[in-house]
C-alpha cells in the first residue's frame, strides 16, 4: 500500500505537467480561433484514432524511446549526455553502410548492422566520457560539439564518397539497403517495425539492470552521491566510460533501427530534422530518468507529434500547438526539481 501511494505521488507531478501543457495548448488554440475540444479530439484521433495511426505513433516513438533510455542511464549516473544526436547519426550511418557493403546472408547482415550501430554510437559517446575523465573537459559541452562533427561527417560521407548516384534524385543519401536486411514490419501495411519490440524489450531490461544488478546500483550511487560512491570503491572514470558507452550505444541503436526499419538508407538530415534526439531527452526529463517511465513518456511525446500532424490535416490549427504543449510540459517538469529541492532544504534545517 505504501508503495502504491509513493507511486501515485511520483505520478502526480507529470500528470499535473500534462494538464498545464494541455491548458497552454488550449490557450494557443483559442488564439487562432479554433474550438478546443474539437481540436484535441482531432489530435487524439491523429495519434490513436485508428489502428493505422496508433502504429504510426509507435513507429515514431521507437527512436525516441531508445534515445530516452540512453540519456536516462547517463542521467542516473550523473552525466548530462547532450550528444544523442551525433551518436544516433553515426549509429545510423554505420548500420546503413554495414547493411549495404557487408557480404553474407540477410539475417547476418541485419545483426551485424545493428551491432555496428550500437558500437559506433557507443564509441563516439565514450570518447566524450574519456575526454571528461582524462582531461576534465566538461561533458555537456564536448557532447554538444561532437554532435556537429558527427552530423557534418555523416553529411560529407553521403554527399561525396558514398553518394547514391544510381537514381536521378540529387539527394545526399546512400543507396537503398537490400530488402533481405530490412527489419520486418510488425503488421502488414503499417509503419511500426521490429525496432519497436527491441525498444520495448530494452526498456524492461534497463529497468531490471538498474534495479537488481550490482553495476546498476553503482551507477545509481554515482549519480546520487559521487562522494559516497567513491568511498564505496566506485571508480568514477571507469563508470563514466561504461555508462557513456551504453548511453551512446542506445542512441546508435535508435539510429540503426530507424535506418533498417523505416528509411532503408541513410539520408542526410532525415534523422536530425524530426528532432528525435531532443524528444528523447525530453522524454527522459519527463519521466525523471525511470526506464519504463521514459518509454511511456516517449510514446506520449510521439503521440503529441503525430496527433499534431493529424490535427493540422483536419483543422486550421497549426501543428506547432503540439510543440508548445511539449515545451510547457518540460518547463513544468523542471520545476519539479525545485520542488524536491525545497523538501531537501526543509529536511536540512
Amino acid at each position: 500500500m505504501d508503495k502504491l501511494l509513493q507511486f501515485g505521488r511520483s505520478m502526480l507531478q507529470p500528470l499535473l505537467a500534462i494538464l498545464v501543457g494541455l491548458a497552454a495548448g488550449a490557450i494557443a488554440i483559442v488564439i487562432v480561433g479554433g474550438s478546443v475540444m474539437d481540436t484535441y479530439a482531432e489530435m487524439w484521433k491523429g495519434a490513436f484514432g485508428s489502428f493505422y495511426f496508433f502504429t504510426n505513433t509507435l513507429s515514431r516513438a521507437t527512436p525516441i524511446i531508445l534515445i530516452g533510455l540512453g540519456v536516462a542511464l547517463a542521467f542516473r549516473a550523473g552525466f548530462f549526455n547532450m550528444g544523442s544526436e551525433g551518436q544516433m547519426v553515426l549509429g545510423a550511418l554505420s548500420a546503413a553502410l554495414t547493411a549495404i557493403y557487408l557480404p553474407g546472408p540477410g539475417w547476418f547482415k541485419l545483426v551485424a548492422a545493428i551491432m555496428a550501430g550500437i558500437i559506433s554510437g557507443g564509441i563516439w559517446s565514450a570518447f566524450a566520457g574519456w575526454l571528461d575523465a582524462k582531461y576534465k573537459m566538461n561533458l555537456l559541452i564536448t557532447t554538444l560539439l561532437l554532435n556537429y562533427i558527427a552530423t557534418l561527417f555523416a553529411g560529407y560521407i553521403v554527399s561525396y564518397p558514398l553518394k547514391d548516384r544510381s537514381g536521378s534524385a540529387a539527394m545526399a543519401q546512400t543507396v537503398m539497403i537490400d530488402k533481405s536486411v530490412w527489419l520486418p514490419k510488425l503488421f502488414h501495411g503499417m509503419s511500426v517495425h521490429g525496432g519497436f519490440i527491441i525498444a520495448a524489450v530494452s526498456a524492461v531490461l534497463l529497468f531490471f539492470f538498474m534495479k537488481f544488478t550490482v553495476k546498476g546500483y553503482e551507477i545509481r550511487m554515482l549519480g546520487g552521491n559521487p562522494l559516497f560512491a567513491s568511498y564505496g570503491g566506485v571508480q568514477r572514470g571507469k563508470m563514466m566510460l561504461l555508462s557513456m558507452f551504453v548511453s551512446g550505444g542506445f542512441a546508435g541503436l535508435a539510429g540503426s533501427v530507424e535506418v533498417l526499419g523505416t528509411q532503408y538508407r541513410y539520408i542526410d538530415s532525415a534523422l536530425t530534422s524530426p528532432g528525435y534526439a531532443w524528444s528523447g531527452i525530453m522524454a527522459t526529463l519527463l519521466a525523471g530518468s525511470h526506464p519504463l517511465g521514459t518509454a511511456v513518456a516517449a510514446i506520449l511525446l510521439a503521440a503529441l507529434q503525430t496527433g499534431g500532424m493529424g490535427m493540422e490535416r483536419n483543422t486550421d490549427v497549426p501543428l506547432e500547438v503540439s510543440s508548445i504543449i511539449q515545451a510547457v510540459l518540460i518547463l513544468f517538469v523542471s520545476a519539479k526539481l525545485s520542488y524536491s529541492f525545497l523538501k531537501r532544504k526543509k529536511a536540512r534545517s
Binding site: F80, Y135, N138, L140, F153, P318, E320, V321, I324, L337
Partner: protein, 307 residues
C-alpha cells in the same frame, strides 16, 4: 585563391558574426554569474521573430528593434525565474526554452501573418546601412568595414564596453564574485540573486539585438527556426572565449569566418563539411589547454548535482 578570399568574404564575415557575437556576449555574462544559458538559441529566435512583427506593425526599424529586445527580455525573465527563483536545472530550462521559442515563433507566424515556413514582405525596411565617413574611402578596409547595419558596429562597441565593465568597474567585480563563489559574495553583502537576474536580463537584451540583426540586418524576412543552431554556436564561442568579452569576440570571428567561407565554397561546389567542422574541432582542442575555471565548475556542479 584570390576568388575565394576577396573583399566581400570579409565583409560578409563581419555581418555573419554579429548575431553570434551578440548572443555569445550574453552567454558570457550568464556564464560569469554561474548560469550556463543553453537557451540562447531560443532567445535569439524570439528576437528575430519579434523584430519582424514590430517592423510589420509599426513600420519603424528602431521600434522593431526595441520590440525584439522587449520580447527576448520577457523570455529571459522566465528563464531567470525558473533557474534562479525555482532553482530548476539551468540546462533543462534552457532546453525547454529553445523548444518553446521554436514552437511559439512558428505558431505565431501562422497566427499573426497567416503564412507557413517564411514571412517576407517587400515593403518591410531592413536596418539601415551606415557608411563610416573617413573609413569608407580607404581602399580595402573601407569595403570591409563600412556599409553595415548599426547593430554590427554596436556589437563591436559592446565588446569593449563589456570588457571594461567586467574587469574595471566595481559592479563588474561584484558580478564576477557572485559567479565565482556565491556564498562568499553573499557574506560580503553582495545581492547575488539580484546580480544573477541582472545578468540574465542583459543576456536577454543582447539576444534580442542578435535576433534583430538576423532577421532585419542580414536579410529582411523570417523563416521557421532561422537561427539554425547559431545560438549553440554562440554557446560554443562563449566556451572557447573563456567567457571573456575579447576572447568571445575572437572566437566569434573564427566561427563567422568559417561560416562565410563555407558559403563561398558552396559556390565553387567544394565540400564544405570540413570547413564547417573546423570551429568545433578547434574548440575541443582549445578546451584541452584552457582548463575549467571557477564559474565553469559552478555550471558543472549545477548540472551534476541535479540528478
Amino acid at each position: 585563391m584570390d576568388q575565394i578570399f576577396d573583399v566581400s568574404l570579409f565583409a560578409s564575415t563581419l555581418r555573419m558574426i554579429t548575431p553570434i557575437l551578440l548572443a555569445a556576449l550574453g552567454g558570457a555574462i550568464c556564464a560569469r554569474v554561474g548560469l550556463f544559458n543553453v537557451g540562447l538559441e531560443g532567445l535569439v529566435l524570439i528576437g528575430a521573430f519579434s523584430a519582424i512583427v514590430g517592423n510589420h506593425f509599426t513600420g519603424n526599424v528602431f521600434l522593431a528593434v526595441l520590440f525584439a529586445v522587449f520580447c527576448s527580455l520577457l523570455f529571459s525573465i522566465l528563464f531567470g525565474y525558473m533557474s534562479i527563483q525555482l532553482k530548476a536545472n539551468v540546462i533543462v530550462v534552457g532546453i525547454a526554452l529553445n523548444f518553446l521559442a521554436l514552437g511559439l515563433t512558428t505558431f505565431s507566424l501562422r497566427a499573426v501573418f497567416n503564412v507557413k515556413g517564411a514571412y517576407y514582405n517587400k515593403d518591410m525596411v531592413g536596418l539601415p546601412k551606415w557608411d563610416i565617413p573617413v573609413l569608407k574611402d580607404i581602399p580595402w578596409l573601407g569595403d570591409v568595414l563600412s556599409g553595415h547595419s548599426p547593430l554590427v558596429y554596436l556589437s563591436l562597441v559592446l565588446v569593449v564596453l563589456l570588457q571594461l565593465f567586467l574587469f574595471k568597474t566595481v559592479t563588474g567585480f561584484r558580478l564576477l564574485a557572485a559567479g565565482e563563489n556565491p556564498t562568499a559574495a553573499k557574506s560580503l553583502g553582495i545581492k547575488v540573486t539580484r546580480i544573477q537576474y541582472g545578468a540574465v536580463l542583459m543576456c536577454g537584451v543582447l539576444c534580442g539585438l542578435a535576433g534583430a540583426q538576423l532577421s532585419l540586418g542580414n536579410v529582411t524576412m523570417f523563416t521557421e527556426g532561422m537561427t539554425s543552431g547559431r545560438g549553440f554556436i554562440a554557446l560554443v564561442a562563449t566556451m572557447l572565449g573563456q567567457s571573456n568579452p575579447l576572447g568571445v569576440a575572437a572566437s566569434s570571428l573564427l566561427f563567422g569566418f568559417m561560416d562565410a567561407l563555407s558559403i563561398r565554397l558552396q559556390g565553387f561546389a567544394l565540400p564544405t563539411h570540413f570547413t564547417m567542422m573546423l570551429p568545433y574541432i578547434v574548440t575541443i582542442a582549445a578546451m584541452l589547454f584552457f582548463k575549467d575555471k571557477g564559474y565553469m565548475q559552478e555550471a558543472r556542479k549545477s548540472n551534476e548535482s541535479s540528478r
